[in-house]
């Protein structure tokens, strides 16, 4: 294998790893634009992945898994939504509670569904789909146009979400709620309804992100597969300035760090190779932290983000 082939394969891998991050951060962008900080996205992705895996495993049909993943994601995010919108509980702590809940549910029902222990396998996955013609383009082709369907979906969603946020009445109202829910309600906007809608959209996207992990990237389900992705997605939203295009760029960067840590063994040689490879696992998180330090301060999100709001 030539160096170029490896490089191309690695680059393609970067794009693949970016995909779930992109889907999740698009969803979180929508919700945060409405002023809600959903840290429970971590747990929602786990449940999405899990329900997706269950759906595909027990019906044998991948597309069913996709559907169940979305349902799982929506259910988790809506539970969070009820706590935060209906009962106005603290957003941060509610999100953490959801994560714990999700963790418990996943662990528990994993053993319930597969009592024997061990890690269940899927024998079929969503395979990369080579776009005719375009994937023949040297270098770029195999990297960008030979990805699982999720990726194309995610890419298409970027401009769609952009349009939704900036070019529709819903988006305008969503943003007004995120800036100042009080003023928005004065003008007659139904703050709760807007927020719930945004949460449902996020749930679907996060479910898809989770589905990607278990139905395409890996052929098994393990709770550790989605660990950290949710929080990285939240960081992506901040660094992407709450803008879908920014989310795309940031997702690619963080996807690359994930790929790097995964591919460490392929690149490193010598006696220290496996050691350094394992050390690379901290790379995505350190990168996020450094990026937050460098870029976090300048980033000013929706003014009412995370703030409690109760209908007067």
């Amino acid at each position: 294998m030539t160096g170029l082939t490896i490089a191309i394969a690695f680059a393609a891998s970067c794009v693949t790893f970016a995909c779930p991050l992109l889907l999740a951060s698009l969803g979180e962008t929508i919700v945060e634009r409405g002023g809600i900080l959903n840290l429970g996205i971590e747990g929602a992705m786990l449940i999405g992945a899990f329900s997706g895996f269950l759906g595909a495993y027990f019906t044998g049909i991948l597309w069913v898994g996709l559907l169940t993943a979305m349902i799982g994601g929506i259910a988790s995010v809506l539970l969070f939504g009820v706590l935060v919108v209906r009962f106005n509980l603290d957003q941060v702590v509610s999100g953490l509670a959801i994560n714990l809940l999700a963790s418990g549910v996943a662990l528990y029902f994993l053993r319930v569904a597969f009592p024997g222990g061990g890690y269940p396998h899927l024998n079929f996955l969503f395979q990369p789909f080579a776009v005719p013609l375009l994937s023949q383009i040297p270098v770029v082709g195999p990297i960008v146009f030979n990805q699982p369907g999720f990726f194309y979906l995610a890419i298409v969603l970027v401009p769609i979400v952009f349009y939704l946020i900036y070019r529709t009445t819903f988006g305008l109202r969503l943003r007004s709620v995120g800036e100042d829910p009080r003023i928005a309600s004065y003008v007659g906007i139904n703050v709760s309804r807007i927020r719930y809608t945004s949460l449902v959209l996020e749930g679907a996207l996060v479910g898809l992100a989770g589905a990607f992990v278990t139905l395409s990237q890996f052929n098994t389900f393990d709770t550790r597969l989605t660990t950290g992705l949710g929080f990285i997605a939240v960081s992506i939203v901040i660094l992407g300035r709450w803008n879908p295009a920014g989310a795309l760029i940031a997702s690619l960067i963080f996807g690359s760090t994930e790929a790097l840590s995964f591919w460490g063994t392929a690149f490193l040689t010598g006696p220290q190779a496996s050691s350094l490879a394992q050390l690379l696992t901290i790379l995505p998180y350190v990168t996020t932290l450094v990026a937050l330090v460098v870029g976090g301060r300048m980033s000013k999100g929706p003014s009412a983000l995370g703030a409690p709001y109760a209908k007067e």
Partner: protein, 382 residues
């Protein structure tokens, strides 16, 4: 009308001892304020905690029902496994110790509304740094004290990074502390897999700590080690003293309740927040060290099953107040151990602990709502 709109009284009972419900008589000059333990507000907090626990247990029973088990039977096994006989009881105390230490620290942080989600990572760093210090000192009598100092410094240092990011750059501490967890766990995992790996063990772990650093067992034929006594008899009273009797504790309260008024009152809000975070890091580090020196005797990747997150549930349930935290950490430790017994007896899978913690936090958050609902319906008197 005014009071309704402002008073969103939270679960916290005031750490300062409160008098019994007062009568209209003039206070006794010799003892100006009678200080009892069961004031009205304190009782209310206890009710709220009890309701949260009850509701959490009820919801968790759904898990049991789904797998065809009888929830009451399951809970019987759970409580037996936690408190059923002397051995189990002591084991619960053993389990309680790290939870208690972490939660005490988190109580301090939460008191001034700083959400330290990074206790898990601070625990690992403190444990590793302390253990390696002990190994360095070998069989010298300095090993134990030095390890304690380094564990505390390690936890403090690890918390200082997100603390500075918050006070100097205004970056939300929830994200930063959580990310630091991953870095910490992966770092320590790497350390004990490669540079500091034990030369004798099969699995990745650090070298075994020297005997001089192993915490002596205080109750024979059990795992009840010195660390537990230190937690109960030193850390707990110290934190209680800090929060109830010092100006720092006062500042914590004010900053947590009303940072605007704190600033108006001349309190340095940033300094208070920073100190609260690093103190909670210190306690988490100590918790990790005692697990190594009292139970595991070397740093393993499986050092903590999530005590850093349990601490969050415990601190919230205990109302950020040391006595409440003591009771809640004992309860959660019981849940941990009890669930093991449930698994053994009924074949119920793991995950119960995480689930209960999640549900518990939700109900603690909503307990004020629930309490007011019950008061309105006359279940409790206002």
């Amino acid at each position: 009308m005014e009071q309704e709109t402002q008073a969103q009284t939270q679960t916290s009972a005031s750490p300062a001892p409160a008098p019994t419900p007062s009568s209209a008589t003039a206070p006794d000059p010799a003892q100006p304020l009678s200080r009892g333990i069961l004031s009205r507000s304190r009782l209310r907090s206890i009710y709220k905690a009890a309701i949260s626990i009850l509701l959490a247990l009820v919801v968790t029973s759904v898990l049991f029902i789904i797998t065809g088990a009888n929830p009451l039977v399951a809970y019987y096994y759970m409580f037996y496994g936690a408190f059923g006989n002397t051995n189990f009881l002591i084991e619960t105390l053993v389990r309680m110790s790290p939870i208690l230490l972490v939660s005490l620290g988190l109580g301090i942080a939460f008191k001034c509304k700083v959400w330290n989600i990074g206790a898990e990572g601070q625990l690992y760093i403190g444990a590793f740094l302390g253990a390696e210090t002990a190994i360095f000192f070998g069989n010298s009598p300095l090993a134990l004290p030095a390890s304690i100092v380094l564990a505390i410094l390690g936890g403090m240092g690890w918390a200082a990074i997100p603390a500075l990011m918050k006070t100097q750059l205004g970056i939300n501490e929830v994200i930063t502390t959580f990310l630091m967890n991953f870095v910490a766990i992966d770092l320590v995992t790497w350390f004990v897999s490669y540079p500091f790996r034990s030369t004798t063990a099969d699995f990745p772990q650090s070298a075994t700590i020297p005997a001089s650093a192993m915490l002596p067992i205080l109750i024979p034929h059990t795992r009840f080690h010195l660390g537990i006594a230190i937690a109960l008899l030193a850390a707990l009273p110290l934190v209680y003293f800090l929060m109830a009797k010092t100006t720092f504790g006062y500042k914590l309260r004010v900053v947590g309740e009303n940072p605007e008024a704190a600033k108006y009152g001349g309190i340095n809000v940033k300094k208070t927040i920073f100190l609260a975070l690093i103190i909670s890091g210190a306690l988490a580090g100590l918790a990790g060290l005692f697990e190594v020196e009292g139970i595991q005797f070397s740093v393993m990747t499986s050092l903590s099953p999530g005590y850093g997150y349990t601490g969050i549930a415990v601190a919230l349930l205990g109302g950020n107040n040391p006595i409440g935290i003591l009771l809640s950490s004992f309860f959660l430790a019981g849940i941990y151990n009890g669930s093991v017994n449930v698994s053994i007896q009924l074949g119920q899978p793991s995950g119960i602990v995480s689930f209960i913690q999640g549900v518990l936090i939700i109900f603690v958050l909503g307990s004020e709502y629930i309490m007011r609902f019950l008061e309105r319906k006359g279940v409790f008197k206002r």
